[in-house]
Symmetry: C2
Subunit: 319 residues, 2 copies
């Protein structure tokens, strides 16, 4: 939950004057999004989200993120569309911070995901990858596999402090993944944070995705690896292979995977677990006690890493 | 900002099954309300607020609060209406806490109030008092004037710790108010927390009031005293008599005050400042460092008390 920057009615009206959205009717800070301040805004023309980007999002990345969201919406993918101001700009400024208005996306995120949700979410991710095709900007994935060794070097002590012996285990993960990481897989812009709280449903049907502020150019199948960690583990840490197969089957209902992509999924998921472990560990260390946002527990991903080390049995037999 | 109790999609659906509101379409925690957890809920039939009452609100008071809100709505006052479930109950339960659904009220609260807002807000408060007539329940104002001496006894040391010499000054306020407190003024159910963040506008026009969880039976003019503190002081602590006169004139445009009520306004406002000083001081002490909700500064009301001690020149001449 987060509203880091508070906005007065006068500031809101001055900001809205740049848009053709009519007068504000309602404005509420929303306890959603860890990275930014989010407000639900109703005007005479409809409902919107106003986002103020806090320090974690780099200003120079915002044209990519907003341009990508606009591209997705223009190609029929259900996601929040950035709203241009009278001069065609997607990005404005509030209290000296970047700010944008996006359309309101209806839907509910699901806390306890079932294989049915996983199948729908998998199909939704393939839809996203399809709609992303033709987007003409690229962004290096600065949290992608090339960054992990460097990230880990700064966190060795933290890993060991979290759990004795963990430093050596993570060093093993880093080395294994550097050697085993696949090359030549189909690339495109990936969501890179396709977690259940960023996916909306209407009933059991996929209704859209939000929060594209980690989107980057990378292997499309790596997005599946991220999602398998986020969607297919039980609260007790065990891997739900039924849910994982449902996710992949849903994905393949729209975009069949190459044989190389299917074979790479276990190592991609292992790498994705390392990525979220490392960034959570960094947040865990840097978050002061009493901060408004409680950092996510890195141990959740440490347990997933242990599952990946044992090998992920995703499919009944090699294809 | 506050969402103390988080709710899963499954819990929401189970709760909604008791109502005739249709399936949920959207559900967002709202950073609004210090006392409770609030969620903006959209279903197939419209938009609502779901509130989970946290420990500060006494469960046995909720039928009064919800009944009062229902009474106001039925008598045409613009406020959130509690929604009854299929069995006619206004109050339900979520995670073993009381919970209710109310209708969504459109409007914007104003940060920097002008005399124009004050006039409209005053008229809105008179409207509230009119609409409240005929409500057949009563509730003792447990934060009213009879409670202040006892509250202060427990906070003497805190007052002195906040500012040397303050204990004696507050003791003087308590004694003065006990002696000067008016009796025989017209009573009814008052809002008792009619602050700018609880009042909605559409443009400059009054659009309604929310947050009736301090409502109680008391002198109607005491509600004006509370509001004068909340609406008519500048950020530098000075009293804006133009704003105060506008508030009272707005109130009197719907409900002319008795001469005794007008004369009592300075002492009622003084008492209201004491009430908010004392409760803020109590919260200041009891809030642990790093709590999600930052307590409001009692010194703001200490400065208002100083203005009241000097005497509030509300009207040009005695009526």
């Amino acid at each position: 939950m987060a509203v880091y920057t508070d906005i007065s009615d006068a500031e809101l009206e001055a900001f809205l004057a740049r848009y053709e959205l009519g007068a504000p009717l309602s404005f509420k800070g929303v306890a959603e999004g860890v990275e930014n301040s989010n407000f639900l805004l109703e005007t005479e023309t409809g409902r919107y989200f106003l986002t103020i980007y806090e320090r974690r999002v780099r200003r120079e990345d915002l044209p990519f993120f907003l341009g990508f969201m606009q591209h997705l919406a223009r190609h029929g993918f259900p996601s929040a569309t950035p709203i241009a101001d009278r001069e065609g700009r997607l990005l404005g400024e509030l209290r000296a911070k970047p700010a944008a208005i996006v359309s309101f996306l209806t839907g509910l995120s699901v806390r306890r995901t079932t294989p049915t949700h996983c199948r729908a979410a998998g199909a939704g991710l393939a839809w996203l990858h399809e709609a992303a095709q033709g987007f003409d900007q690229t962004r290096v994935n600065d949290l992608g596999h090339a960054a992990w060794a460097g990230l880990f070097e700064r966190l060795r002590g933290e890993a060991e402090a979290l759990k004795p012996g963990l430093e050596a285990q993570i060093a093993g993960d880093v080395a294994h993944l550097a050697a085993a990481w696949p090359t030549g897989l189909p690339e495109g812009v990936i969501h890179a944070d396709y977690f259940p709280d960023n996916v909306f449903f209407r009933g059991a049907a996929f209704a859209g995705a939000i929060d594209f502020y980690f989107a980057a150019t990378d292997a499309l199948a790596y997005d599946i690896g991220i999602a398998l960690n986020a969607w297919c583990f039980e609260p007790d840490g065990s891997f739900n292979v039924t849910a994982a197969r449902a996710f992949v089957a849903g994905y393949e209902s729209r975009r069949p995977l190459l044989s190389a992509e299917r074979q790479a999924l276990p190592v991609l998921a292992h790498g994705a677990a390392l990525r979220f472990f490392l960034t959570r560990l960094a947040d865990w260390r840097s978050t002061p006690a009493g901060a408004l946002v409680r950092p996510k527990d890195p141990l959740e991903y440490e347990r997933k890493l242990a599952v990946h080390r044992a090998g992920l049995a995703l499919f009944e037999a090699a294809p």
